[in-house]
């Protein structure tokens, strides 16, 4: 690491109490404070002190329940992310605010207005992680009988984003009214919001399928993705850059930001010890509830030491049966008990990379992956909150800065300028 490193962008992905499902039980976790304003204000200031480009929240449009039973041992994911970001923006000046919002259960006018409002209230720091929402229970919270098919959801998303963009662009023009008539939407009107400091919020996407990648290549300015290995990261990034170029856009105008969960300690041994402690906090009861949520079937009614009740699950689960069959079959073939299978499931990272080690190792790993073209930055997921985020800011950030991989200070005030994206004004 002699020559100056490539500049890395960092996002703080702050879902609830952190990455580990049992993390809320850690002695230093503060599960009660995630219901208070001071917690979010402190975390926002911490992220800004760490020179993060943005704070990002994921989102769901359903409770965590499986077949009507809400898990007892899993934390609520978070308070409403949009509300939190607005509050966090009020006590900061630079850090971006990226909210996840569905194009399936909203109207373009409503969403365009909410992001315009956030952009205005934060003086140009809003970002939109565009999702189409795949959970069947979400449909039932919006009066729909069934989940819309994926191809259709993406078609709707594409037109949705186009309409929202027209609305934002028109705000600055002589005639702020738009008149749109398409396959999905007929919109005659204008935004109430009088001004967007960024022109448009930064558009973020996370789709992994072919449909999702093409949609991202046409619309996104940053992409959140899993990258379990450096090779996977490189393959994904080069695939997206090709697709972006094919869509006649500049590949450098799309930042690839894979997820990276982390646990830090002074020594590698101490970090590993911390991880095994955190994994232990996800007891069998929690792991069984965790899988129940993932398959839309309440497994808690079955004997944890008995076989995986695959026939019962397939007969009654609320998710596509073939996906669930594929998922459970290996465990059934190995004759795993329900508890064993669930424990493995809850403890295996699915897709996202997890770093467990020292601040020096983490800084080196982050710089290395970026240098090898595996990413443009990271969507960092603290193992549990707020302790791990504080460790990162205090111990990894200075190392990244020493190597020239992270800004010493913010140079712009908008999220666009922090990310080095083109101005929309």
């Amino acid at each position: 690491m002699n020559s100056p490193a490539r500049e890395i962008h960092i996002w703080a992905f702050l879902q609830g109490i952190g990455f580990y499902p049992g993390g809320w039980r850690h002695p230093k976790a503060q599960p009660e404070s995630v219901f208070t304003r001071s917690y979010y204000e402190d975390v926002a200031r911490l992220a800004e002190r760490g020179r993060f480009d943005a704070i990002v929240f994921g989102d769901q449009l359903q409770g965590r329940d499986a077949a009507g039973r809400t898990p007892e041992r899993l934390a609520i994911p978070t308070l409403d992310p949009f509300t939190l970001l607005a509050a966090m923006g009020a006590v900061t000046e630079h850090v971006g605010l990226v909210a996840t919002v569905s194009t399936t259960y909203n109207a373009p006018m409503g969403v365009a207005e909410r992001f315009a409002s956030l952009d205005l209230a934060s003086s140009g720091r809003a970002g939109w992680n565009i999702v189409t929402t795949a959970h069947p229970n979400s449909a039932w919270n919006f009066g729909a009988r069934d989940l819309m098919e994926k191809g259709l959801r993406y078609q709707r998303a594409e037109e949705f984003v186009a309409v929202a963009s027209q609305l934002w662009d028109a705000v600055d023009s002589d005639d702020p009214r738009i008149s749109h008539k398409g396959e999905w939407f007929a919109v005659e009107g204008q935004l109430e919001t009088p001004y967007l400091p960024q022109g448009r919020p930064v558009l973020v996407q996370a789709g992994q399928s072919g449909d999702g990648r093409d949609f991202a290549a046409r619309t996104a300015e940053a992409i959140f993705c899993p990258a379990p290995t450096i090779e996977a990261g490189r393959a994904f990034r080069s695939d997206i850059r090709d697709r972006v170029a094919n869509a006649a856009r500049d590949p450098d105008g799309v930042k690839i930001m894979p997820g990276l969960a982390f646990l830090l300690a002074d020594t590698e041994e101490a970090a590993k010890r911390k991880e095994s402690e955190l994994l232990e906090m996800a007891d069998d009861g929690l792991c069984i509830e965790y899988l129940s949520e993932s398959i839309g079937y309440d497994l808690t009614v079955h004997d944890p030491n008995g076989a995986i009740p695959i026939d019962d699950v397939l007969a009654a689960c609320e998710f596509p049966v073939e996906d669930i069959r594929r998922m459970l079959t290996p465990g059934v073939e190995r004759n795993q008990s329900l508890a064993d299978y669930c424990r493995n499931y809850a403890r295996q990272p699915r897709g996202h990379a997890i770093f467990v080690g020292t601040p020096e190792q983490m800084a080196e790993r982050m710089i290395h992956w970026a240098a090898e073209g595996a990413c443009d930055g990271y969507t960092l997921q603290p193992g549990y909150m707020p302790e791990e985020l504080r460790l990162f800011v205090d111990h990894v950030v200075p190392l990244l800065q020493q190597h020239g991989a992270l800004r010493q200070d913010y140079t712009g005030t908008t999220l666009r300028s922090n990310l080095g994206l083109s101005s929309r004004r």
Partner: protein, 312 residues
């Protein structure tokens, strides 16, 4: 005596200094004796949604408001129960239980073509649809009991699953299953505020907890308040008064002659001056605890909790 007034979130000069201006406006109203602030726009005598989404404005101002209750003025017909229930749950937590909400119908026609066919209704359907939105939202808050959270690290129990449920609300316009992915707000429900002049108030069965009432003079206002009480209206009532010349609005100089109001909603180009004038010599309201507490409003019962304890 309760005093409220609007704070228009964008005003006419938006831009980089918006939040600084809002901070100044908010502090000036607070210092002049406002007990609560309606995040909305005064259109003549009526309160309508502002140009900045109040569900963004409320959390963005929470730190400056620092306990001063805020009421999010919303366009009822363009709001979806799941989103509203969750945003207000979060806002009520972040503000320490001092949120109110004011779903309105008044200005919906002008905006309807912008929201498209999914949101279109006839004039006659507008009030019942707005009411259905309110009820579906409240049903989602009822999907959690107030005591559902346990947060016990030692036992690993985060919540009591018997205190969270699907509610399967089926209304004429909205079906929502639940449970909400947010805990019951600290106040049970944020306080439901309405303007008597808004069409939502005409929906049969709509039960505002705080009502703004306007008439051209003190005598007419006193009569209107007496009439509301006579038909059993049990919430708090604020009389709309103004130092400016506003059609159908009682002059502020006649405020003392109004009988039966719990306080005043001030409509004024110079709100701090008008608030100061009304506050002079009058005790301020309770400025601690939840907004419900300050307004002496009971925490709404959760029908699911009630049934459960009856069964037990």
């Amino acid at each position: 005596m309760i005093l409220s007034t609007c704070i228009d979130l964008t005003g006419d000069v938006p831009g980089p200094l918006l939040m600084a201006r809002l901070e100044t406006d908010l502090k000036a109203r607070k210092a002049a004796g406002a007990d609560m602030l309606l995040l909305g726009r005064q259109k003549g005598g009526t309160v309508v949604p502002g140009r900045l989404d109040a569900l963004i404005g409320a959390p963005a101002l929470a730190s400056v408001a620092d306990g001063t209750p805020m009421v999010a003025v919303l366009p009822a017909l363009f709001s979806l129960p799941f989103h509203v229930a969750r945003a207000l749950s979060a806002a009520d937590f972040l503000t320490g239980g001092t949120m109110g909400w004011m779903p309105t119908v008044a200005t919906w026609q002008a905006r309807a073509p912008g929201f498209g066919a999914d949101y279109a209704v006839s004039d006659a359907e507008a009030p019942p649809k707005a009411l259905d939105m309110v009820r579906a939202t409240q049903a989602l808050w009822d999907s959690w009991d107030a005591d559902a959270l346990i947060l016990d690290k030692a036992s690993g129990r985060y919540l009591d699953t018997g205190h969270v449920r699907r509610v399967d609300y089926r209304g004429r316009y909205f079906d929502v299953m639940g449970p909400l992915n947010a805990a019951r707000p600290p106040q049970g429900y944020p306080v439901l505020v309405a303007d008597e002049a808004d069409p939502i108030f005409s929906a049969a069965g709509f039960a505002a907890e705080l009502l703004l009432v306007g008439r051209e003079n003190a005598a007419a206002l006193s009569d209107a308040i007496a009439a509301l009480r006579a038909v059993g209206f049990a919430g708090r009532i604020l009389a709309k008064v103004s130092p400016d010349d506003i059609d159908g609005c009682c002059p502020i100089t006649d405020a003392a002659a109004i009988v039966g109001a719990d306080g005043f909603h001030v409509i004024a180009a110079d709100a701090p001056a008008a608030l100061t004038q009304l506050r002079a010599g009058q005790p301020s309201g309770d400025s601690r605890g939840s907004l419900r507490n300050r307004l002496s409003l009971a925490i709404p019962a959760n029908p699911f909790s009630t049934n459960r304890s009856v069964a037990a």
